[in-house]
């Protein structure tokens, strides 16, 4: 009898697992990546505490880009607005489903006098190989690998596992933070809200 009850409990657990395992995708993976994408599963939505606020000066940084350039945030001061797009990790589902969209939206950034900088805590070779899958990106992709995640940490978006949050920071020409969005890491922010934030700078 006890055996039966144990068996029954086990089966109910299996049923519950099945139901919980029904895919709840927050992305639609492009066929272009083949079987190269590592499925992270559902992650804790956010795992850090912001260290910056709207109205404050954006922490300055200098990072290397996959283009071979060295980019310093303050080089754009008095010239262009800057949108920082942090993504958690190369070769993962939602991240692979984000920057390719920005890649067809150059006109929207140009219209709003905004430079787009992509940042990840992955190293340069990894970022290079991954972004090659997306075609030719028009924006700079920067590596915050070493000191590991130092820039992400200065903004307060370095997660406890060493990757950045999925976060956006819009900085105006004076170097002041004007828009911050830290998304649920499992979902991609809407392009519409980015455009609105850029338009609100005018």
């Amino acid at each position: 009898m006890r055996l039966l009850v144990t068996f029954l409990s086990l089966m109910l657990s299996v049923i519950m697992f099945d139901i919980m395992a029904i895919p709840s995708s927050g992305y639609a993976l492009s066929d272009i990546y083949g079987d190269k994408i590592y499925n992270t599963g559902h992650l804790k939505p956010t795992d850090s505490t912001l260290k910056v606020k709207i109205g404050e000066s954006a922490p300055d940084f200098t990072l290397n880009a996959i283009s071979g350039q060295t980019i310093t945030l303050s080089q754009f001061k008095d010239k262009k607005n800057v949108l920082l797009t942090f993504i958690p990790a190369a070769w993962t589902p939602v991240c692979s489903d984000q920057w390719p969209g920005y890649n067809i939206a150059k006109s929207l950034f140009d219209e709003n006098e905004t430079i787009l900088l992509g940042i990840s805590t992955d190293n340069l070779p990894t970022l290079f190989a991954w972004t090659r899958q997306m075609g030719d990106l028009w924006f700079e992709v920067l590596s915050d690998f070493w000191p590991h995640g130092a820039v992400a940490d200065s903004y307060g978006i370095l997660r406890t596992d060493g990757v950045a949050e999925r976060a956006l920071f819009l900085i105006d020409k004076k170097g002041v933070l004007r828009f911050i969005n830290v998304s649920d890491i499992n979902t991609r922010p809407d392009l519409g809200q980015i455009v609105k934030a850029m338009q609100d700078l005018k």
Partner: protein, 212 residues
């Protein structure tokens, strides 16, 4: 064995059956997402664009109720492209899909029989509209911002094409165990994309849908 024990044993067996059924269904979704018929259960909001309304052949009731489904589209075949503005293949393939649409529109034999729509999965209305403007897409595009339709289709990769043919035996709605499907519709194409040559794709549709 008492009657109580038999009852417990019976419940256990039923539990195993249900579990196996769910597991098999999930595996089927992930391996072979031939779930195009599920689209017949999806309600779309009619497009604002009157040219698109006319193209789809929506009636007054569709417009006043602000809802229609695949069966309301005036065509023998509805080809659905599952796309995303964030998908590099979809971006690259957009000019081919425009050429494919124009090829159908110029063909007097098929322009009223084959209708094309796109569904931007995980794309907001803004993102779908931006994709449409970027590539000058003339066929109707719809937004699936919360991945509702995408989940219904088993989370297919993009681009993905589903060809649905309306059968002549009239609508006979059946109430299945999971959802209500319409057996007056037949899925004749369900496959992932990549770049497609317009002429070859049209011939494939005509052949597979048996439209000749």
């Amino acid at each position: 064995m008492t009657s109580h024990d038999i009852r417990i044993l019976f419940i256990a067996i039923i539990s195993v059956c249900i579990s196996c059924s769910i597991s098999t269904d999930l595996q089927a979704q992930s391996k072979e997402p031939l779930m195009g018929l599920q689209l017949s259960t999806v309600d779309f909001e009619p497009p604002d664009n009157v040219v698109h309304q006319a193209y789809l052949g929506l009636n007054r009731k569709n417009l006043s109720d602000k809802t229609f489904n695949i069966n309301d589209i005036n065509a023998d075949v509805v080809l659905v492209e599952i796309f995303s503005m964030y998908c590099p293949h979809c971006q690259k393939d957009a000019p081919n899909m425009n050429a494919f649409f124009n090829l159908i529109q110029k063909n007097e034999s098929y322009r009223d029989r084959i209708k094309l729509i796109g569904i931007g999965v995980g794309n907001s209305a803004f993102e779908v509209d931006f994709f449409r403007k970027t590539y000058n897409i003339e066929f109707p595009l719809f937004s699936d911002p919360d991945f509702r339709i995408h989940k219904l289709l088993g989370g297919v990769r993009t681009p993905y094409f589903i060809g649905i043919k309306k059968l002549k035996n009239g609508p006979q709605t059946v109430d299945g165990s999971k959802t209500v499907l319409d057996n007056s519709l037949k899925v004749f194409l369900s496959e992932s994309g990549g770049e497609r040559q317009p002429e070859a794709f049209l011939q494939q549709i005509i052949k597979q849908a048996d439209l000749q």
